[in-house]
């Protein structure tokens, strides 16, 4: 079996009186694509942020290639440098061009020399078909274009894994297509990804495993076929019905 890239064991995240993540354990192996879906407010974003150590989990452990990130004394910046993150609301740096956004980490995290950083940033932009827009500022780009730059920014430094938090849900329906195409390309190249998404046709096509998430925890896991034909829990069944209906409407 291939190596486990990212893993969490018995992960909890508790805000004052809300348990956002409840005792979650999961593993992602090299080249695997896992897809998390579930109702709004169920804690999907919180889980992803914990995995990237963008918020500190309350309890439990996160491992990146076997290295525990939740121990005290770990250099989290180094760890994050190996984890790509794509945000639902994109969060491009407003003051930098598309190229500048992608270059930033190459220059100041990987500390590449200027021209090499530029070359790699350009090729990352090419990967998402945004090379023509390299010198545009985020405010001059459409939502779909912005998100493709967001993806290029996350993958430019060749992270071990990319975590994507609903990369298309903030976009107008007609713009989701281009972002989904980009993700499909990444999937073909064997990129290891953990994606939160409700794009069901896409899920069916690329996901090795789907994870139904509700009330902070994993309710059911299985292949896309499993979920599309007969989910075993009542909650998953209902949720799938709604999703499929919505997809048809669109």
């Amino acid at each position: 079996m291939t190596e486990i890239v990212m893993e969490c064991k018995n992960l909890w995240k508790i805000y004052k009186d809300i348990v956002a993540v409840r005792d979650v354990s999961l593993q992602i192996r090299e080249g695997e694509i896992k897809l998390i879906f579930g109702p709004s407010g169920s804690g999907k974003s919180t889980l992803l942020r914990c995995l990237a150590m963008l918020t500190t989990p309350t309890k439990g452990d996160v491992f990146l290639r076997g290295e525990c990130l939740t121990k005290p004394g770990v250099d989290l910046n180094k760890a994050r440098a190996r984890i790509g993150f794509v945000f639902q609301h994109i969060y491009l740096f407003h003051h930098l061009t598309a190229l500048g956004n992608v270059e930033l980490a190459l220059r100041h995290v990987l500390k590449l020399p200027k021209d090499e950083a530029r070359k790699r940033a350009m090729s990352a932009l090419e990967e998402v078909k945004m090379e023509k827009w390299a010198n545009y500022y985020p405010a001059q780009l459409s939502g779909g274009q912005q998100q493709r730059v967001g993806i290029a920014r996350a993958l430019a430094r060749n992270p071990d894994i990319i975590l994507l938090d609903e990369p298309t849900s903030a976009l107008d329906p007609e713009l989701t297509g281009e972002v989904i195409d980009t993700l499909r390309d990444l999937a073909k190249k064997g990129t290891t990804m953990l994606i939160v998404s409700h794009e069901m046709p896409f899920a069916q096509e690329v996901a090795d495993e789907m994870i139904f998430f509700d009330e902070g925890t994993i309710v059911e896991t299985g292949t896309p076929e499993h979920f599309f034909t007969n989910p075993s829990t009542e909650r998953a069944k209902k949720f799938m019905m709604r999703l499929i209906k919505r997809t048809r409407r669109e």
């Binding site: 963008l54 910046n77 760890a79 993150f85 945000f87 740096f93 930033l104 100041h108 995290v109 405010a139």
Partner: protein
Amino acid sequence: MDALQQLALILNGVTSTITVSIVSFFIGIFVGLPLSFLRVYGTKSAQILIDAFEKFFRGVPELVLLLMFYFGVGLYFPFPFKNVFFTANFVLGLRSAANQSQIFRGAIRGIGDEQMMAAMSLGLSKVKSVLYVMLPQVIIYSTPGLGSEYALLIKDSSYAYLIGVVDIMAYAVWIRKATMDTFTPYVISAFLYILLTFPIATFLDRWGSRKKKQLGLERR
């Protein structure tokens, strides 16, 4: 003395007015900027200290501070507080730091945690995230506010004449006393102050607002 002669004399004070304002302005940036980030990202005790500093320098009249440091602290530490130029810049500089810290803090809030999180997600350290992602945006975002702060400093530098800085105000008072002309020197000085404040403050306001809009820095 006719108005032109008076103007020529008063112009001698412009250098002092500008110097005090500009030096204080930069003290304000160099102290206020770190304070604003410490206030947002620092420890609880740092926050309390900074709040106290801001309260004091923003709540007490500039004139009271000038008199206190020049006459009072200067009694115990003649060097450097008996130097009028030093004390004027010290007081107005720290006052401006307190103001600017608030301006920058508003900018940090306005730009939002998301930018910081996105920067950290790339593996940038907290310090680097502040340096490469927050700082440039904070400066652009704050430009209109800094314009008003600059205008405020030009005007408030006039208090410094009361401890002996020879600025526009000092010349105007001196001319009034020497010539008994109670009108012209004040009209001239009012005109000069407006000339020093209005164009630059307006420019910074316009430029900053336009740039903010262009870059989409205002949160939707």
